[in-house]
C-alpha cells in the first residue's frame, strides 16, 4: 500500500454565516475574507504538518492545484513542493498535480516537474488533472469545449520533452515551439510516475490504461459512494485486457482517528462540518461549464460532485454512516480502510487528515494515531502486487542532505528586522 498524507490547504477563517452571505467558496469568493498575514501563518502550519507526516513514515505527502478557492490555497503546488523538498527526506512528494492545459507553454510543467524530480532525488510523483471546471474554465478562461483537446496536446508535448533525447519542433494548435529541449530534464526514467485525478469519464480510464498512469478518484463523498465509479474503471481495465494491479488506482478519503469512536466525534465534528458546509459551498453555475464534460461522460450519468445535494443538514452520524468520512478509534478506522481498500481495489490512498479549520496540534494527534496504530496493519495488503513499482517513484540511493543551519548565524528574528514605519 502507498499512503499519502494529503493537504488541500483550506482557508480556516470562513465565517459562521459563510453559506448564507456568500454564493461560492470558489471563483468569486470575497476578497475581504482573505488576510495575507494570517495566510503567512496558515502556510507555515500546513507545511509543518506535511513535514510531520514525512517524519512519521507516510509513503507520500500530497498537494494539489486550485485557483481562487477558499479550501485550496495552492495556485502553485510546485512552490509548496519546492519548499518541502528541502525539509522532508523520505516521503514521496506527490504533486497531484498541475493542470497542464493551463500552462503556456505547457513545457513549463515539464521543466518544473523535472526540477522537483531532481531536487528530491527522484522522490517525486506527478499528476496531470484536467482541472475542475471552476479552475480551468471560470478562473483560467480555457474554453470548455476545447479543454480536452488542449490537455491532450499539452500531454503529448510534456511526455515528448521528457523522453526524446534530441531537440525537436512541436507544431500544435495551442503551442508552437521551434526548439523543445528542456534542460534540466527528469531524473526518473522514462519520467516520474503520473497519477490522473478523474471523476468518472470513460476517456480518462482509457487514457490511464494507455499510458500506464494511476487513476485517482479524488472525491469528498467517501468510499461507499465511489464503488460504482471504481467498478466502472476496473471493468474497463478488464475489457482492455491489462493486469489489474491495485496500484492502477487511487482514492482520497477524509479520515479522523482518536482513542475511541466517541472521542473522534467530540474532537473532530466541528472541523468536519466546517469543511463540508463551508468549504464545499460552490455556486452550481460554476460546477460544470457546458462543453467541459464530454457527451459520452454525461451519458454515463457521472455528474459533477459539486452539483450534488449539499451537506448542510448532515449530522456526524450521517457523515460516518454514509462513508463520507472515516472516523473513530484506530480499530474502527482500520476495519473501514480494509473494507475501502478491498472494495475499491486501490493501492494508493490519499488521506485527507487535515480538514477545514482543524488546529495543527489536533491534526498531529490524529495523524500520529493513524501512522502508529492504523497504517502498520494495512501496509501489506495486496502482497501479490508488492513488487509493482510502475506507479510509484524510484528515488536514487545517495540523495543530498541539506546542510544543517548554522546556529551561530541563524539569529532569531528581532524587531530590528521589521522595517521602520
Amino acid at each position: 500500500m502507498r499512503f499519502t498524507w494529503f493537504n488541500l490547504m483550506p482557508w480556516p477563517y470562513l465565517p459562521d454565516d459563510f453559506r448564507e452571505k456568500n454564493r461560492s467558496v470558489w471563483v468569486d469568493i470575497d476578497q475581504d475574507l482573505f488576510d495575507p498575514e494570517k495566510c503567512h501563518e496558515v502556510y507555515a502550519n500546513y507545511l509543518d504538518l506535511l513535514e510531520y507526516a514525512d517524519q512519521l513514515g507516510f509513503d507520500g505527502v500530497g498537494i494539489n492545484e486550485h485557483h481562487q478557492n477558499g479550501y485550496g490555497l495552492m495556485p502553485s503546488p510546485n512552490i509548496m513542493a519546492a519548499t518541502l523538498a528541502r525539509r522532508t527526506s523520505k516521503a514521496a512528494l506527490v504533486v497531484l498535480g498541475n493542470s497542464i492545459a493551463l500552462y503556456n507553454p505547457p513545457i513549463r510543467v515539464a521543466e518544473e516537474f523535472a526540477m522537483l524530480d531532481i531536487l528530491t532525488g527522484g522522490r517525486f510523483v506527478g499528476g496531470f488533472p484536467v482541472g475542475t471546471s471552476m479552475d480551468t474554465n471560470f478562473c483560467y478562461g480555457t474554453i470548455p469545449g476545447l479543454t480536452r483537446e488542449k490537455y491532450a496536446e499539452a500531454h503529448e508535448l510534456i511526455i515528448r520533452a521528457w523522453t526524446e533525447k534530441k531537440p525537436f519542433a512541436f507544431n500544435g494548435r495551442y503551442t508552437k515551439l521551434r526548439h523543445v529541449n528542456i534542460w534540466p530534464n527528469v531524473l526518473q526514467t522514462p519520467h516520474p510516475p503520473i497519477h490522473i485525478p478523474g471523476g468518472g469519464s470513460v476517456e480518462t480510464y482509457d487514457f490511464c490504461i494507455d499510458n500506464t498512469y494511476s487513476y485517482s478518484y479524488l472525491s469528498f463523498s467517501g468510499y461507499l459512494r465511489a464503488k460504482a465509479l471504481m467498478d466502472g474503471y476496473w471493468k474497463q481495465v478488464a475489457d482492455r485486457g491489462v493486469d489489474n494491479s491495485p496500484y492502477r488506482a487511487g482514492f482520497a478519503q477524509t479520515v479522523f482517528v482518536a482513542e475511541t469512536d466517541e472521542e473522534a466525534e467530540r474532537l473532530y465534528s466541528e472541523y468536519a462540518f466546517y469543511f463540508y458546509n463551508r468549504c464545499l459551498h460552490v455556486y452550481p453555475g460554476f460546477a460544470d461549464a457546458p462543453g467541459y464534460r464530454t457527451i459520452k461522460t454525461i451519458q454515463t450519468g457521472a455528474l459533477n460532485q459539486y452539483m450534488r445535494p449539499t451537506y448542510t443538514n448532515m449530522t456526524w452520524k450521517d457523515l460516518v454512516d454514509g462513508g463520507h468520512i472515516i472516523a473513530g478509534s484506530p480499530e474502527t478506522v482500520r476495519q473501514k480502510f480494509e473494507d475501502l481498500i478491498k472494495s475499491l481495489r486501490v493501492g494508493n490512498i490519499f488521506l485527507l487528515m487535515h480538514v477545514g479549520n482543524m488546529p495543527k496540534d489536533l491534526c498531529k494527534y490524529s495523524t500520529k494515531l493513524f501512522a502508529e496504530k492504523v497504517m502498520p496493519h494495512l501496509q501489506d495488503m495486496w502482497p501479490e502486487w508488492a513488487e509493482d513499482g510502475r506507479f510509484w517513484c524510484k528515488p536514487i540511493a545517495n540523495r543530498a542532505i541539506p546542510a544543517p543551519v548554522d546556529a551561530a548565524l541563524a539569529a532569531p528574528a528581532t524587531p530590528a528586522m521589521v522595517p521602520a514605519k
Partner: protein, 278 residues
C-alpha cells in the same frame, strides 16, 4: 411551412430549416438555437424564402471537432451559403448569429450586401461587462433574456420543463446543453469578443441593428457601440423588449428587418445584386 434538409460542409453535417416564398434570407440563430416551430422563423417565411442552418452541435446538425474559433465558424457559414447556392441573401443574425454575420461581412465585404443584426454579440465594453451566461442556472435565464421575465419563464418552461433531479430528464438536458453551449463557447467563452472591432472597418454591407430597449444581456450601450463600429449602420430600438426581441416583439422585429431602402443612408455602393426585400 418549414422543412428540414441536410447538407454537408467540410466541418459538419448541417441541418437546414427552410421554407417560405420571397427573396432569400439566411437566418443565423443565437446560442439558444432554433427549431422548425419557432414562431419568428415561421413569420419570416411569409415574406422571404428563409434558410436557417443549425450550427454544428445544435438540433439535428452533427457535432464538429473542426470548428475551434471565430474564423472557422465564419468560413463554415460561407460553406453553407455555397452549398445552398445562395448569392448575396439578406443576412439576419440574432445574438451569436449576429456576431457571425458581422464577421462574414468583415471578412468578405464584397459578398455581403445587406444584413440585419439583432442584438449581436461580439463587442465588449469594460464599463458594461455582460453577464456570464455560462454560469447562469436554467431558472436564471428568463431574467436576463426577456423584458417580461414571467412571460419568458412560461415560454421557456414549455420547452425545458422537467425535473432536474430525474436523470431521465436531466441527462438529455445536460447533453443538449453541452452540445450547444459547448460549441457556442468557442466564440463566446469567457468573454464574447473575438476582435471584430479591429476588422469592422472592412464591412460594406448596409447594416441594420435591432435592439430590445430593455436587453439585460447586451444593454443599450452595446447598441450604440455597434452603431459606432459599423459605418452607416442604422439602429432601431424596440420598446418593451429584451434580448429575445424576435419572440417578444415579433411584429416590430419583422417590420424592422424589412430593411426598407433608405437612399440617404446608402453608402454609394448600392445594395448589390440581391433582389430588394419588401
Amino acid at each position: 411551412m418549414i422543412t428540414a434538409r441536410k447538407i454537408e460542409t467540410r466541418a459538419a453535417t448541417v441541418n437546414v430549416l427552410e421554407g417560405g416564398e420571397g427573396p432569400d434570407l439566411l437566418f443565423l440563430h443565437s446560442a439558444g438555437g432554433i427549431t422548425a416551430d419557432n414562431p419568428f422563423l415561421q413569420a419570416l417565411a411569409k415574406s422571404y424564402h428563409v434558410y436557417a442552418p443549425q450550427l454544428p452541435g445544435y438540433g439535428d446538425s452533427g457535432d464538429s471537432d473542426n470548428i475551434h474559433d471565430m474564423l472557422e465558424v465564419t468560413l463554415h457559414t460561407f460553406d453553407v451559403l455555397e452549398k445552398l447556392g445562395l448569392n448575396k441573401p439578406l443576412l439576419l443574425g440574432h445574438s451569436l448569429g449576429g456576431m457571425i454575420a458581422a464577421e462574414m461581412a468583415a471578412i468578405a465585404p464584397n459578398d455581403i450586401d445587406r444584413m440585419a443584426l439583432i442584438c449581436p454579440a461580439g463587442l465588449w465594453l469594460d464599463d458594461h461587462p455582460v453577464p456570464d451566461i455560462f454560469t447562469l442556472l436554467p431558472r436564471e435565464f428568463p431574467e436576463y433574456m426577456f423584458h417580461d421575465a414571467d412571460a419568458g419563464r412560461a415560454m421557456m418552461a414549455a420547452g425545458q420543463g422537467g425535473n432536474m433531479n430525474d436523470p431521465a430528464f436531466l441527462i438529455p438536458f445536460l447533453v443538449n446543453n453541452a452540445r450547444q453551449l459547448g460549441m457556442a463557447g468557442k466564440f463566446l467563452f469567457p468573454i464574447p469578443e473575438r476582435g471584430l472591432k479591429e476588422r469592422a472597418y472592412r464591412i460594406k454591407a448596409r447594416t441594420l441593428l435591432i435592439w430590445g430597449a430593455s436587453d439585460k444581456l447586451f444593454p443599450a450601450p452595446y447598441a450604440h457601440a455597434w452603431k459606432d463600429t459599423i459605418a452607416g449602420a442604422e439602429l432601431v430600438i424596440i420598446p418593451e423588449a429584451g434580448h429575445m426581441v424576435p419572440v417578444e416583439k415579433m411584429d416590430a422585429t419583422l417590420a424592422a428587418t424589412a430593411l426598407k431602402p433608405s437612399p440617404s443612408r446608402t453608402r454609394g455602393r448600392g445594395p448589390g445584386g440581391g433582389s430588394a426585400p419588401p
